[in-house]
Amino acid sequence: MLLEALDGDETVVFGSAAASVQVQVEPVGRWFEAYVKRRNRNISASFQELEEEEESSEESEDEEFQLQECPMLRTLDPKDWKNQDHYAVLGLPHLRYKATQKQIKAAHKAIVLKHHPDKRKAAGEQIVEGDNDYFTCITKAIEILSDPVKRRAFDSVDPTFDNAVPSKSEGKENFFEVFYLVFERNARWSSKKHVPKLGTMESSFEEVDTFYSFWYNFDSWREFSYLDEEEKEKAECRDERRWIEKQNRASRAQRKKEEMNRIRTLVDTAYSCDPRIKKFKEEEKARKESEKKAKAEAKKREQEEKERARQAELDAARLAKEKEEEEAKLAAQQAKKEKDIQKKAIKKERQKLRTTCKNWNYFAENEADDVKMMEEVEKLCDRLELTSLQSLNEILASSSKEDGKAAVEKQVQEVNAQLQREKEAEVQARQAARSVEQASGGGGTAGKGWGEEDLQLLIKAVNLFPAGTNARWEVIANYMNLHSNSGLKRTAKDVINKAKNLQRLDPGQKDEINKKAFEKFKKEHSSVAPSIDNAVPSERFDASGSDGSAAPWTTEEQKLLEQALKTYPVSTPERWEKIAATVPGRSKKDCMKRYKELVEMVKAKRAAQEQVAIKTKK
């Protein structure tokens, strides 16, 4: 119930309404979907409004359409209904296939109200009795247009439809104007809705692609039953009906094929004329080319990179090598310098020791002691290392004669003890080696008493008297008997047997034996007189010397040595240095030793040969 308005009250707005707020809602339900739909359509109306609007718009459409009555209606011949335009008959020539069922019905109603024979009769018109009245045409029209199947058949052969397909030359010039209309026109046959539009020059590749794929797979509902020559219903018997059917089917298929061809031609023409396709193709080509280029470039770059890396590596390796060499050189120089300094120092120290000892008369009263002490001091000089020499000298310099003597004697004792120890160790080692040798070679010699020394001697002899020597085995046996210290007499036969035995042994073993022989030789020599190389203090700094002595001489080295010996005769100053320089890997000492060995060997050989010669002479 509303209140009464007071006098003087006016319609007035006092304030402003509260602004709307935004809230999160659940996207569910019918109303929500309706809301979304509206929002997507950008219609600002409430639910109720929308619903009403939709209905009213439909109604208004119904009322809106106007009938355009066919002026020829009255002259139509009902017998010729097949050729009449049913839409025109009903007054809908402007709507045609777009006309809704509702519109068709309404139009029919309006037409009937006007043209029904009864109405006309009432209006005082003369009516032709029977089927000849044009009203039959109206009946036929509604019969066809109200039946969806029949209507479709009629629509398919709509006489107003332009079946023309533009030619290529036409399409080339203004593609979009020409083809837009054609495709729009033909789109009505599509059984799918939402026919893609031709688009514009700016359409994306996807759009154009969908357009053409749609049209290439065009699914048309157009069919040509309306044009059937004969009517099935007219047939008198089943066979005739069948024949008619067959006939119709064939002609329909033919027409359908023609139609499909038409569409196909249209799409083909459009495709070939389409400037966009050309554009896309060019773009694609350009893209591929650029890709190719990029690939080639990348490859090139990669190769360059590789080349550069390799170069860098090489450079680095070269640099490193150079550096290494430099360093080695420097190190060698340094080592040499040091060695020299060391040598000088030791020389100095030795000298000092000698002079000190001499100053104190070698701490001896008589001559014999003096000599002995001198020997001892010499030994000390040889054996003691730089530091101990220095300390000894210091002691000697700082202390009295007695203390000095004690110190020297202590050192002498130590040195002697060391010598003794070394000797013992050597003997032990030799014994051990021999026992090992015997254990290994014992089986083969079969009690014949081929000791290790004998074996070595044999090998030496075999090498000394090569095959071809006159009475070789006798010479060897003789040589063996002469040099062996085993005391056994060996005949030539024994020697042959043993040599053959040895030959059967593998060369590695032979090598070993040779090596051992050399070691033994060295040991024997050193045991005879404490050789100089055994305890030279400088040996520590001369690593290659000790190594080199151990290695056996190869034939090449041997050749080089012989050559050197010939080129530098005895008179050459610093002969051995020069010789050593020509033989790589061998020190001066090695060369000298080898030379001595060789000399000895040659001597022995000669002696043995002489003896054999004497024997044969006898």
């Binding site: 308005a5 009250d9 006092f14 402003s16 659940e26 569910v28 979907e33």
Partner: protein
């Protein structure tokens, strides 16, 4: 066009199909309308559903349960860690994502939660297809309201991997409302609905405002610590105690026996929802000893009374948070399997005295039905492009009122457009003025009826024809998106009209 709705829960999954305007839940190959969301991995196969659940007794290490808890979460997530400690299946860290380590073959397999969810959803799809007899892919899947974006995406991915075309993900409470057709028949009025969902492992209570057919969540509460499983646990504990009393043996340390007992208790619990007492029978529970026990509903309710209280207790704070009282709730919707429990329903009824309690549909199926209804709305309508999961709309901020007087002459306000009406909106309202009057006055107010509304405008209609009959005045109130109001009134007999526009405050 058929479409399906899937409710993918923590413990169970349910599928409903929408066909011929109806949404029906379909039973799976085992004949159950609800499928346990359990996946068991064997040498050559993966088993989903009841068989996997029962086989868990023997194959616990390779049986994945409650996969929804870790779906779409990172490994460091506290929920994931919680799940890791609870589940018997090994959970390992792989690039910050949790993976299940399955050791059936020679080498351990690593299975992502999405794959597990995929298997379950695929099973649901098969179930729906076998019922329909044809392939169906369009589906709406429900998610809990609290699901974060990443979890939703994971679920969507899993569903798509299972072969679904996900039309939309909708929230569970909204699906429940749809199933009861709340706010769907007309756009009239505003109402508040409470959705009470007590599932297998979680409780969620949501208050929604329904206005203009649009649902809006006012407040929600989720508690993962209570659910049907808690009740089963309590019952199983009781059964274990019974067993101990009878056989003098404590089975609570024996994991396998407890699992068997849980299965038994689960079934007993289900029957107690409809029967006064249930028999629980477990073959060879321990050492070949069979166990049989009768549990009455009263006993069960006693055992779980504290749990029931805990389940009910969050409702009141939630309503307070939303600024509502129990009487301002128009409807209560029950869903989730555990909401079947009679005692629980009774407690809720006591809480909401004069409120309609909707529990006619099976509570564990309503959500799936709602999802199916939504799927039916969406299917075959491409124009409804997939929207975001949450949508913002403009609504009116405040009630729009018109002042009238009743017979006694006292002032009264009629609500033309309630607050929260989605905009734009239009409303017809017909008012009457006494026939003897020659002029009437319409006063438009905004604000709450109780708290002195603000007067917005006054519309005067003059020069009316005084008559015996009352004047009928049609008012059309239109509110635009920005909140501005247009009111036009027409006196029907004379056609005298008046219109005003009230601009919106900026």
């Amino acid at each position: 066009m058929a479409a399906i709705g899937v409710h993918f829960g923590y413990t169970c999954a349910c599928v409903a199909i929408f066909k011929d305007g109806r949404a029906d839940v379909v039973a799976n190959d085992a004949g159950d309308r609800v499928t346990p969301a359990v996946v068991a991995y064997r040498d050559t196969e993966q088993i989903v559903g009841i068989a996997a659940k029962q086989g868990r007794v023997r194959n616990a290490a390779n049986t994945v349960v409650k996969v929804k808890q870790v779906l779409g979460r990172s490994y460091d997530d506290p929920e994931t860690q919680n799940h890791r400690t609870e589940t018997k299946c090994q959970v390992v860290d792989k690039q910050q994502k949790p993976y299940y380590e399955i050791t059936v073959g020679e080498y351990p397999q690593y299975v992502s939660p999405e794959d597990v969810a995929k298997l379950i959803l695929h099973k649901m799809k098969e179930t729906a297809q076998s019922a329909l007899g044809s392939d169906v892919t369009d589906a709406v899947i429900t998610v809990p309201f609290e699901f974060a974006q990443a979890q939703k995406r994971a679920l969507r991915d899993a569903a798509e991997a299972a072969g679904f075309n996900v039309l939309r993900l909708i929230h569970e409470p909204a699906a429940a409302l749809l199933a009861y057709n709340i706010g769907q028949d007309s756009s009239s009025g505003k109402s508040h609905v409470l959705v009470y969902k007590l599932g297998g492992t979680s409780l969620s209570v949501t208050v929604l405002q329904v206005n203009g057919g649009i649902f809006r969540v006012l407040s929600t509460h989720t508690d993962h610590s209570i659910g049907g499983e808690s009740f089963t646990q309590a019952l199983a504990q009781h059964l274990a105690a019974e067993f101990k009393r009878t056989f003098k043996y404590d089975v609570s340390e024996n994991a396998r026996a407890m699992m068997k007992l849980m299965n038994g208790a689960d079934m007993a619990k289900h029957s107690l929802s409809s029967l006064g007492s249930a028999n629980c029978f477990v073959d060879s529970l321990h050492d070949g000893m069979d166990f049989e026990c009768n549990v009455s509903r009263a006993r069960f309710e006693l055992l779980c009374s504290s749990l029931f209280n805990k389940s009910i207790q969050p409702i009141r704070p939630l309503l307070e948070k939303a600024g509502l009282s129990t009487s301002s709730i128009n409807k209560v919707v029950l869903c989730g399997g555990s909401a079947r429990i009679p005692r629980l329903q009774q407690m809720i009824r006591e809480l909401f005295v004069d409120v309609e309690l909707l529990s006619s549909a099976p509570t564990d199926e309503v959500i799936a039905v709602g999802a199916a209804l939504q799927a039916g709305l969406l299917v075959g309508r491409e124009s409804l492009a997939p929207e975001e999961e949450s949508v913002t709309v403009d609504v009116s901020a405040i009630d729009l009122l018109v002042k009238e007087v009743d017979e006694s002459g006292a002032e009264m306000f009629t609500v033309l457009l309630p607050s929260g009406t989605p905009l734009p909106a239009r409303k017809h309202h017909t008012m009457t003025g006494a026939g003897k009057l020659s002029s009437v006055c319409l006063e438009i107010y905004q604000g709450c009826v109780m708290e002195h509304p603000e007067k917005l405008a006054k519309i005067i209609l003059r020069d009316l024809q005084p008559s015996e009959e009352n004047h009928n005045i049609d008012a059309v109130v239109t509110m635009k998106r920005d909140g501005s109001v247009h009111v036009s009134c027409v006196e029907q007999s004379t056609g005298r009209s008046e219109a005003i526009t009230i601009a919106a405050a900026s």
